[in-house]
Amino acid sequence: MNLRRLTLILVPYLWLMGFFLVPFLIVVKIALSDTAIAIPPYWPVLDLSAGWTGIKEFFSELDFENFVFLTEDSLYWKSYLSSLQIASISTFLTLLVGYPIAYAMAQAPDEWRPTLMMLVILPFWTSFLIRVYSWVGIIANEGLLNQFLLWTGLISEPLQIMNTPTAVYIGIVYTYLPFMILPIYATLEKMDGSLIEAAVDLGCSRGKAFWLVTLPLSRPGMIAGCFLVFIPALGEFVIPSLLGGSQTLMIGKVLWEEFFSNRDWPVAAAVAVVLLMILVIPIMLFQRNQERQEEAGR
């Protein structure tokens, strides 16, 4: 029995080790290496045939040069900041759009819910790239939106949306909306309806009851949704490069260029490691805080 339990615990950990920890350590190692015109394009490479001295030599060659380099060129920290800003704003916008949709789904009659759920998931059945690219046809200067607005006479000049941060926001909100809707819907859907009735019975208006009961109780769903949107949005590459044009600085794009255009794997790896730190540290702090709050409640 103990063996079975051990296997049960071990399998996911082995999985995580094999497919996350080891590759991550390799990335860290590349970040500590120097770029080289070779295959692979970095140096040193661990040579076990040289024995103990080989290993010692290998470690002595590793340094933090690339991380220092990241702080020296303003491109990097500007890209990080701009990514953080774009990811934060678009997460907030996704929450604003997604919450009412999730709320409406949870309020809908039981027999409608599977259909509504299907409609939310349906876009996933088309390629992500095509969906983002089709936005070009909508928001371009001669796109559908501008043509429509010109036709109604609301504007006399086409709006410049393409190649601006606005286009990136539109793309991210559109793409990640289901990741916001689904966790919020899950918390709202399992909420006991008599809680709202109890709040109303105790003197709240419907609006006040929503504010005092529904909203705080759906907080876990909102937090989960925000993480699910914020994390991929921060490292997003496709949306800013397709819709954001050359002016939109995002770290995903920088990473791509370092890797494929410059073929500077060590700097690209350093950029990726810092990006991971930016994501992991706030999440850890948040979880510590959550736990402490739970403790205080006891």
Partner: protein, 379 residues
């Protein structure tokens, strides 16, 4: 029994000068084609502990939700303290409700749950604390004020729900199956606690339940409902001793129902012929019956005496054979088969030790009861 003590009976429903707190006037509630409440008239008085009793789907919960304001009557009026409540939204009614699921706010502490309604009222901030404290004391929850609902037991949650609904001192408190989620022992304790609190606060309570024992224990009056109609409204003793129909007699407690033809003997007496060649049942009647009318004779098991010999002091004596005995410790229930094939339940307290009982399975026994022990029902 309430009737036995005429000096200080609480019976405002018998006093024509008393104005009811709640008056249902021809109230009908339909959900699509389903009629949940059917043209119902009912008065509930101030200070009452009123129980709505019935099987699920009988309309008792709908009736309560109409009082709370969560449902609007399709037809008819509901008056609360001489005010038509129809236009008043639930959050403005001087009515509070204790929900079956308790509906405690999981993100708030016990203290905040109880203060929730007070904070929505115009009560000044500094009085809220005192009021919450008083409610905590009333429900003996003082040491749990800082806990969240998931950190206390089911019985404690039930008391928080009660405290929260009482905090605003409503004119009327509605309780939807308040003890349904508790185990039997706790339920019995809580019933007395509820009665205590009702007496202390003087609030009018309306309780919805499907548990007849609970209704009988706590209520001043019980309304038995079936298919959206009130079948009988009376005190617990009235419901038990003088049910007005077979439905009520059968719903409350155990009963033997014998169908027969009535033969009025004058002077309020009636003979009921229920089988060929057997002496008819002698009984007294409340309502007049005609000769030959089909009637139901209802008698509670504990009103029937079981013995080896017929009891000459009782008007009815029938012979039968013991078919089954259910020994419950303090009492035993005998299932006796009459010569006509009918099965009659009779209950005797076990005043003597079990080993001294002088009849057992398959023994011939005599069932005896007085002519006032049962009721004659026409429907």
């Amino acid at each position: 029994m309430a009737e036995a003590n005429p000096q200080k009976v609480f019976a405002p429903w018998e006093d024509p000068n008393q104005a009811p707190l709640i008056r249902f006037e021809g109230v009908t509630k339909k959900f699509g084609t389903f009629t949940a409440v059917d043209n119902l008239n009912l008065d509930i008085y101030r200070g009452e502990f009123f129980a709505l009793l019935g099987p699920s789907g009988c309309g008792k919960t709908t009736l309560m939700r109409m009082l709370a304001g969560f449902e609007d009557p399709t037809m008819g009026n509901i008056w609360l303290d001489d005010v038509d409540v129809a236009p008043i939204p639930p959050n403005k009614r001087p009515v509070n409700m204790m929900f079956q699921s308790y509906a405690l706010f999981p993100h708030l502490t016990v203290w905040d749950n109880i203060a929730f309604g007070l904070k929505r009222s115009d009560m000044p901030q500094e009085q809220i604390g005192d009021r919450v404290q008083a409610m905590l004391r009333l429900t003996r929850l003082e040491q749990f004020a800082k806990r969240k609902p998931h950190q206390i037991s089911g019985g404690q949650r039930q008391r928080v729900a009660l405290a929260r609904s009482l905090a605003k001192a409503p004119k009327l408190l509605l309780l939807d199956e308040p003890l349904g989620a508790l185990d039997k022992k706790l339920r019995q304790e809580t019933q007395f606690e509820l009665m205590d609190i009702q007496e202390k606060t003087g609030t009018t309570f309306v309780i919805v339940t499907h548990d007849q024992e609970e209704a009988m224990t706590v209520a001043t009056r019980v309304a038995v409902m079936d298919h959206g109609k009130l079948v009988q409204v009376a005190t617990p003793a009235g419901i038990y001793e003088t049910p007005n129909s077979v439905y009520v007699a059968d719903f409350i407690g155990e009963v033997n129902i014998i169908e027969g033809a009535a033969a009025p003997m004058g002077d309020g007496k009636v003979d009921i012929a229920f089988a060929e060649g057997v002496e008819p049942i002698h009984a007294t009647i409340g309502e007049p019956v005609t000769a030959g009318q089909k009637v139901f004779f209802a008698i509670r098991p504990e009103k029937i005496h079981v013995g080896r010999e017929p009891d000459p002091t009782r008007a009815n004596r029938i012979r039968g054979k013991v078919h089954d005995i259910a020994y419950l410790g303090n009492i035993s229930t005998y299932r006796v088969e009459l010569e006509t094939g009918q099965m009659i339940s009779a209950q005797m307290t076990n005043a003597r030790r079990l080993s001294r009982r002088d009849f057992t399975w398959e023994d011939e026994v005599w069932l005896s009861w007085t002519d006032t022990a049962g009721v004659v029902l026409t429907r």
